[in-house]
């Protein structure tokens, strides 16, 4: 069961990756854009510009096949890039939903026409993507999607509402999960359709999160017309496409998060070293416990990447990645507040920002409870598990 291929194969780096790492380091030297501006619009613009520059240097889509504008390298190359970008001011790609999730899903399941039209704009960040999955009545219970799309000639007409949609305000395109067959229920009768966010009938309303930042939105669809050929795979395959897309939400996606957390952790330790508190054995023990979580997450991500590389990813396995990410994220910033003390913990700053923000990690992308259910049923094979 759980250990049947023990010890788990892991993504390995060889001389090719070492050479790539050198190339990236050379390119990065002197080009670091630094911390992007605070103001939201300027921040997004700076991040788009950074991905464009990376693309121009041939560094975006390293693992994408060459026919889709990629470099045809392996996932190890992508991992090296993510590791090296970590030291820059902008460690995450602004269009990572496109590059890491929607793009690979299109390669797997979409028509050549859709691939040709939509893949190139993902790489250079000229077209940003979002995903429209969750709805007011379809949170953990995603199959309860009620947004409908009815056929009208060559078009689909979409009505309904999505919620918690990240980046809907800045994205050009959305991969939207809709019900195309109202006779069918639950997982059947769903379709995944590409929607241009500038289409008339779409209203995006920011839904400020706990920090009052406009990261996500409510999106309303009122008679929105979309060409029928924008359906990814076949009508009715929506659930399959959604699951494929979510499977790409692990791997490189989590690697980026892990690397960002490692960076924040280093900042914390540096601060504790500067203040002299790092000499306290109790502080060192706490540092050791947080380092443990981050290191375990790192090994887990490299295992997942290797399984993705070799096509041996087991259903439910990446729930482990999500669960580790949630607990590490929350432990790190809880430790930061404890170790940096009341002056830091009682004021608004980057640490308390991340402390509050960390509550979302165990909710988005499938709550901790949902992940436990997946592990019990899929990984442990407990068919009757609640």
């Amino acid at each position: 069961m759980i250990l049947d291929a023990f010890p788990a194969p892991t993504l390995r780096f060889g001389p090719e990756e070492d050479a790539l790492r050198e190339r990236i380091r050379t390119w990065l030297a002197g080009r670091d854009p630094g911390e992007p501006p605070e103001e939201y619009g300027a921040r997004i613009a700076a991040q788009i510009e950074w991905q464009r520059a990376l693309h121009e240097a041939g560094l975006v889509g390293l693992s994408w096949p060459e026919r889709y504008g990629g470099k045809g390298l392996g996932l190890a190359a992508e991992a090296v890039l993510a590791e090296e970008l970590a030291s820059s001011g902008v460690p995450e790609l602004i269009n990572r939903i496109g590059v890491y999730m929607v793009g690979p899903t299109l390669m797997d399941l979409a028509s050549p026409e859709l691939q040709e039209r939509y893949l190139p704009g993902m790489l250079d960040a000229s077209e940003l993507w979002c995903q429209g999955f969750s709805e007011p009545e379809a949170g953990s219970d995603l199959a309860n999607v009620r947004t409908t799309a009815r056929v009208d000639g060559d078009e689909l007409v979409i009505d309904g509402q999505k919620v918690w949609t990240s980046r809907a305000g800045i994205a050009q395109f959305c991969a939207l999960l809709v019900r195309t067959d109202r006779e069918q229920s639950r997982h059947r009768g769903l379709s995944m359709v590409i929607v241009d966010m500038r289409t008339p009938g779409i209203t995006v309303r920011p839904l400020p999160q706990v920090l009052h930042e406009p990261h996500f939105n409510e999106v309303f669809f009122d008679g929105v017309r979309v060409p029928r050929e924008n359906v990814i795979a076949r009508p009715g395959d929506g659930w399959k496409v959604a699951m494929q897309m979510l499977s790409y939400e692990r791997g490189l996606f989590v690697l980026e998060r892990q690397i960002r957390l490692r960076g924040r952790f280093d900042e914390l330790v540096d601060e504790l070293v500067r203040s002299g508190r790092a000499g306290d054995p109790a502080v060192r023990e706490r540092i050791g416990r947080v380092a443990t979580g981050i290191t375990l997450l790192e090994s887990q991500v490299y295992r997942t990447l290797e399984a993705q590389r070799t096509g041996t990813l087991r259903p439910g396995a990446t729930s482990i990645d999500k669960l580790l990410l949630s607990s590490v994220y929350q432990e790190l910033f809880a430790a930061a507040a404890d170790l940096l003390g009341p002056e830091t913990a009682r004021t608004t700053n980057g640490w308390t920002h991340d402390l509050l923000e960390s509550r979302g990690v165990s909710i988005y992308g499938g709550t901790t409870e949902i992940q436990h259910g997946i592990v019990a049923r899929q990984l442990l094979g407990l068919k009757e598990a609640a």
């Binding site: 069961m1 250990l3 010890p7 330790v269 050791g288 290191t295 887990q300 396995a317 019990a376 598990a385």
Partner: protein, 349 residues
Amino acid sequence: MTDVATRAEADEIARSLDASLTRILSIEALLESAEHDRPLPDALQDAVVGLGWSGVAVAEDDGGLGLGPTARAMLGEVAGRRLLPAAVRGEALLLAPALAALGAADLLEGVLAGELRGGGAIAPAFAADGDGASQLVALAPGARLAALVGTGGGMVVDLEADPVSVEPAAGLEAGQGLARVTVTGPIAPERCFDDAVSDRLRDGWELWVFAELAGTAARTLELSAEYAQQREQFGRKIVTFQAVSHRLAEMAVALGALDSAIGRLAAGLEDGRPDPLLAAVLRHVAPAKARTVCESAIQVHGGIGFTWELGLHLHLRRALDLQYALGGDGPTAQAIGERYVAARAEVAA
């Protein structure tokens, strides 16, 4: 680098050893040995030793199996799952490779043949000639040799001929032959080795122990998952209670994460890209996770889990013993912190 063929080969060896140990080490025999704190009967000892464990960490040229880190981890997992006697671990991972490093061919041959028994332990630092070293060691019945591996070197002592005292101790893992071995005088230089050898032995022993911890805990999860699907209370199987199934899921997550970390440590050793931080983390987290899984297994089984006869406590005892052999929960966490702080201070300088 291990190619697919060798991994498949190692997998076959592991499966065959697992089947053999399952046959030889019945839960009844293990409980009998623990209850009376005496070794397994000679016939069972011979059967276990006859499987060739003492060759797992010795090169083929020296008469061993010449296994790489990944293959050794696979066998360590089996050892933990089936509760291989602790003395066999010491013989295989410390004593035999120490004798190989010392070039003690005759003694090595005896150990590989299972004729010369002993044990081995990781010990705190001690003097270059070994005088004063003292450590708890699980010794096989009739043990002649013990490897004591310190932080800056180590030695193989002859328990009959060398100046050592052997005091039997009541082990938490009863029946494993635990004894305190104390060196009371200088040990001959040809039986002592330097830090290069002791570091290598320690790395190999630790990887095995991490795998053993994963294996022993994995066994209790398997038993728990089976039990939860059979046991009924309130007119339904207890696995249908979310409190139970989520606990089982947490056990699986702990083991899955451990599996990934051990796999990465083994791959690093194999590729000549060792990861000292990951090793330090595993010293802390492998026993911590294994212990939690064993404890959860007892909880999932309820009152039956707490009985002697079910034997879950044997796995918990092993996890606890190894946790403290590796340094204990707090000190190993602190050691990671020290390492991390030192690394950041170096970056700053």
